[in-house]
Symmetry: C2
Subunit: 187 residues, 2 copies
């Protein structure tokens, strides 16, 4: 099977909306399949200290749906003020309050579906992808950066979920820990 | 929502077969949801050099089903020689030859189902979990270590899949890279 070889640089992939959308569409189901109905110890354990549990992570993904990706897309494609509202990195605490994991998974699924439907109503041409907004910490960013970041943000939290869960078995794996990349091992 | 707090040590979770099985059962669907039908650039790009593509990772998971987890479980619970056959870390190359991603995803699903059915025919008591086998590099290991490692091995490869995919957008995310944990950022 052919492996894409980037002779000049790595990585190869340019942002293309039609290759990004299938990843964005699947994330709620990936997260639901990983978590729905699992024992509380899997869902509510963290990596120690004030790190996040799987429950916190799903609540955070919901906050992103409500306040980040589409609201910022609309700022970029709109005609008004180009400055983004700062993202609340503690918003998941309020978002998760009094809810079950099952409720959060459902909400994330519904919100993502609505947000992608809204994105599909916009005509995302190359010219539109080059339009910009202003992030207080990052400066001027393009719609292309924002939408690629939406994809990578999903992947970053799948990455985090798998790590948080794996760490609960940090001792249970015994000597195999040295082979487990997710536990800092070499494979 | 309660976060499990380990006052004495972190992590908390002891290996219990009934909490491990739901994770093992879901992995083929998690991986399929992440990958099925995606563009070749997502499936056949790696992290540079001789690192693995998503295609390689799924082929490797299949090799694990065929030669690692259940064969070693049977060595531990059986009466014969206790030494494991070494795992072939290049076995995925032969396994993937001439196949499509869709074929690999199907094979992984079928093999995992068969393997968990076989595991369920064994009476995995605490006494059985303490039985041992011999790994040439790791020494004496218990069935408990092996089965916990099966779970963490799944999670390690979900972790790797999300990272390999995210890296394809390493440049596309622009200044957001610094916030993306999976790209080495700080969030």
């Amino acid at each position: 099977m052919l492996t894409y070889i980037c002779l000049l640089k790595h990585p190869c992939m340019q942002f293309e909306i039609e290759k990004a959308l299938p990843v964005l569409e699947r994330t709620p189901q990936v997260v639901e399949t990983m978590l729905y109905g699992l024992a509380d110890e899997w869902l509510h354990s963290n990596e120690g200290g004030d790190t996040w549990t799987p429950f916190d992570i799903v609540a955070h993904l919901i906050v992103g749906e409500r306040t980040d990706w589409i609201p910022r897309t609309l700022i970029i494609v709109g005609e008004g003020n180009k400055e983004f509202v700062p993202f609340d990195m503690k918003g998941h605490i309020k978002e998760g309050k009094g809810k079950t994991m099952s409720q959060l998974l459902d909400e994330f699924k519904v919100l993502r579906k609505e947000n992608l439907a809204q994105l599909n109503t916009l005509d995302i041409t190359d010219e539109v992808l080059d339009r910009t907004g202003f992030h207080r910490m990052l400066g001027t960013v393009t719609l292309r950066h924002l939408l690629a970041s939406w994809v990578v943000h999903d992947l970053t939290h799948i990455h985090q979920l798998s790590r948080v869960m794996a760490k609960q078995y940090d001792e249970a794996v015994g000597p195999w820990k040295q082979f487990m990349g997710v536990l800092g091992g070499k494979r």
